[in-house]
Assembly symmetry: C2
DNA sequence: ACGGTTTTGACAACCGTTTTCATTCTGGCG
DNA sequence: CGCCAGAATGAAAACGGTTGTCAAAACCGT
């Protein structure tokens, strides 16, 4: 079993940035794979539950997924133009978040951090045009 | 035009944490206001465009809105149980985000940071039960 | 090969959001 | 005051992504 699941993981593995479910579905179809949208969603959920991939929501409400190289906790630096993603560690942020939470008496602190920017090649293109 | 817009802003003003559009709509209706869901959405969008309120997406895809006291850039510390929200400034994070972006050659850096935790009163309740 | 279980995928249901469009309000002008 | 143009409103329909349904297909140990 899990052929489909591995197929989905494959796609994510060789992708640079975040991919949407429908995006992945489209690619698999284009590749000739016989798979249903439902199964893609299920595979994605399973992978996310297993902690093998990251999930987050776009500003327009779409879920996007990414296979993370790093095992542990980390954040992303995402190019807002081409979607290229760099994984970054942020000890300073972790500490800050905990400190800020503690300062207000909050416990069990977690946090989400996403950094957006325009990557070198994209800013080159932008300034050239 | 004492817009419904102002009415919506009112609701947000006296709310502690983030409210969803439908939530606000329900409250206005309960309050006896004759207003349509459409108008609530439009008011919310207008306020967001004008920069008077914050918008962000829940993990389950709902948009939530909040009237921000502070004018400038800031982040939120949100109680994951009761939704109480504290606005926090994080110079350290701003600097970190910019630095991390610059380090990878990214320009026009922006970032989103949300800190979640259990607030003092809620953790009291939790441990009491 | 054979039942029982799991996985699959076409399709419909869902849900929050957005658009459409006819109606209502508003404010200026003759 | 009456009228019209433009903006605002809201009910209902459309939309898009996601999730549920359920029958058919694949898989498994026997």
């Amino acid at each position: 079993m899990t052929n489909r699941r591995d197929a989905v993981r494959e796609i994510l593995a060789h992708s640079e940035g975040f991919r949407s479910a429908q995006d992945i579905y489209a690619e698999m179809r284009a590749h000739g794979a016989k798979i249903g949208l439902t199964t893609v969603y299920r595979a994605l959920q399973a992978l996310a539950d297993a902690g093998h991939i990251d999930v987050l929501r776009t500003d327009d409400g779409e879920s996007v997924y990414r296979a993370c190289v790093t095992g542990g906790h980390h954040h992303h630096l995402v190019c807002r133009r081409c979607g290229r993603t760099v994984e970054v560690a942020g000890p300073a942020v972790e500490r800050w978040a905990d400190a800020v939470g503690a300062e207000h008496g909050f416990t069990a602190i977690t946090h989400t951090v996403e950094v957006f920017g325009t990557c070198p090649s994209c800013s080159a293109v932008a300034s050239a045009s």
